[in-house]
Symmetry: C2
Subunit: 335 residues, 2 copies
């Protein structure tokens, strides 16, 4: 069944049917109603391919990430897809997996599907790409369709970013620990993203401002390395290095810190305060429950999709939105 059948049923030409479908206003009301009735009666659905060929759009948006099974990203993907679908956009999901160097390849793949926009989330690729350190491929892609970055920053005419002020959030959290008298704070560091860089600098800046000697230690872990985080702390402990607080760039790593403390009879939060990041479900699973920084995935995604829909509708949207993250106090910090 195709547009022709509908036109026959309604007694009009296919052009008129097409106009009705596309909301073209130059159709008489009576005709419109007749066509709509025919469409409904026949249960007609336009063929997306033919439609795409004509309009060169398929109401589809590409979502690119490296690991959609990461709790944070999974949430982001869920909200992005959900909000977009409210406006009848479908989402093509594309995960590069453990090989972030594939971002260029996947970008090309997803563009070849003629998506109307691409959303990069996780932004694992924004920094430290040996082969592509200036993210050329994103800039290239932005020549074809608008690009949206979740927690990434890139300047460009057709690039729109929504970021959390990770620097500020970590800075303030560190300050809080410092006000509590903590002087030997370990920062557990994961990722190679802009976001993780910002978190780290928020941390070091706070320590510098407070004039705390550079006794901090930080390490470089994977985002899911609970046990590596724990071992790392143990190695510090074995060296008898003082330690009275731990900040982590991911809740997973903070979980490792909790495990470390429990195993060594270190009291939380009296002897060791711990702060995680993401305020994920993990923060509620430990005992004591984790204090964690919440970057409001849902709202961030809403902002991003709002921008995206605006741009696709031909309206303006801000190229850069910065949102604040909040510290959610639970049991691993004092107060």
């Amino acid at each position: 069944m195709n547009i022709y059948d509908v036109s026959q049923k309604a007694g009009v030409s296919i052009a008129t049917v097409s106009r009705v479908i596309n909301g073209n206003r130059s159709v008489a009301d009576s005709t419109r109603r007749r066509v709509e009735a025919a469409i409904k009666e026949l249960g007609y659905e336009p063929n997306v391919f033919a439609r795409g060929l004509g309009l060169n759009t398929m109401q589809t948006i590409g979502i690119l990430c490296n690991d959609s099974s990461d709790i944070y990203i999974a949430n982001a993907v869920y909200y992005l897809q959900h909000f977009l679908s409210e406006h009848h956009y479908d989402s093509i999901l594309c995960c590069t997996g453990n090989n972030p160097d594939d971002f260029r390849k996947y970008t090309k793949m997803i563009l070849s599907k003629r998506v109307d926009a691409v959303i990069y989330t996780g932004s694992q690729f924004i920094l430290n790409h040996p082969e592509d350190h200036d993210n050329n491929y994103i800039v290239d892609a932005s020549k074809e369709v608008p690009i949206f970055l979740l927690n990434g920053m890139l300047e460009g005419e057709n690039i729109y970013c929504v970021v959390n002020d990770d620097h500020l959030a970590v800075h303030d959290a560190a300050m809080k620990l410092i006000r509590h008298g903590r002087r030997h704070i370990v920062y557990l560091y994961s990722g190679t993203t802009l976001s993780s860089q910002n978190k780290l600098s928020g941390f070091t800046d706070a320590l510098n401002e407070a004039g705390i000697p550079n006794r901090i230690a930080y390490t470089h872990l994977g985002p899911k390395d609970i046990y590596a985080a724990k071992s790392y702390l143990e190695s510090l402990y074995d060296q008898n290095l003082p330690m009275d607080a731990v900040m982590a760039s991911e809740d997973t790593l903070a979980v490792g810190a909790v495990k470390f403390a429990e195993e060594h009879g270190i009291r939380i939060p009296e002897d060791l305060e711990i702060i995680g990041y993401n305020n994920s479900i993990l923060a509620e699973c430990t005992e004591p429950e984790l204090t964690s920084i919440d970057n409001h995935v849902e709202k961030v995604c809403r902002t991003l999709t709002d921008n995206c829909l605006k741009v696709l509708a031909g309206e303006d949207a801000p190229h850069k939105v910065i949102r604040t993250a909040d510290l959610i106090s639970r049991e691993t910090t004092v107060n």
Copy 2:
């Protein structure tokens, strides 16, 4: 740039270019090489719409779930997408969110995109659908494209299922608890899926076989209700009902059980054994760490996508694959 440009460059007709692209064998080697060179030099990518119009396929598969942010589903979605992309199939993700009654609507939506197959995962919809209790819409959909169910069972010519033997896994785990002398086992029950039904019946069957009087209690919770699970156990506790083990249909609920025990000074596993389900990252976050049933998401997804690719290639595939799940012993059970 289009197929015509390539044909000009290679000095052949567009038909020949098309044949090269589609791997049609009746092209002379020398011609093929010439065309391939032209394609490469021009960086040509076929237009998917035009291609779709001709072939009526877009190498795209729809993945339908209710909540892709659920840890288990997020993992499944990740693997499904990843495995499919290895074979150049893209994935359109579609989440119904909290309204499982929308499954019909979303199914229609996704079919209108002319996907080559639909994968239902999570299968929250397989049972207890007031309006659609016999899953007609899936059967209907299977008339258009092959349907694949992850942890769902439905008979149909064009329907292919991969399920875990949840019944067996829970049954055996319950037996283990019974062998440990547990007689007052609480089952924390979530979901309305086939899967959750099977888990429950595995549990009750085990108790019946062991001749344990029907002193069990189970409740109906949401899959993320850590605190509801905890409160529920507390209510039993307050009633002085005996309880020496807890089994949960989700790790989240088992986490609630751990919290309950810790808060009331109940020793794990001596006084209370706890078994979760999914063997998710949550199982490693608690202290003590959770014993949990692992249903091998990755392998299950591999099996499903293998079947899917076979069917799409016109080959046969089993309509029903049953896989076994394994108990991963950690610290919340004896041994």
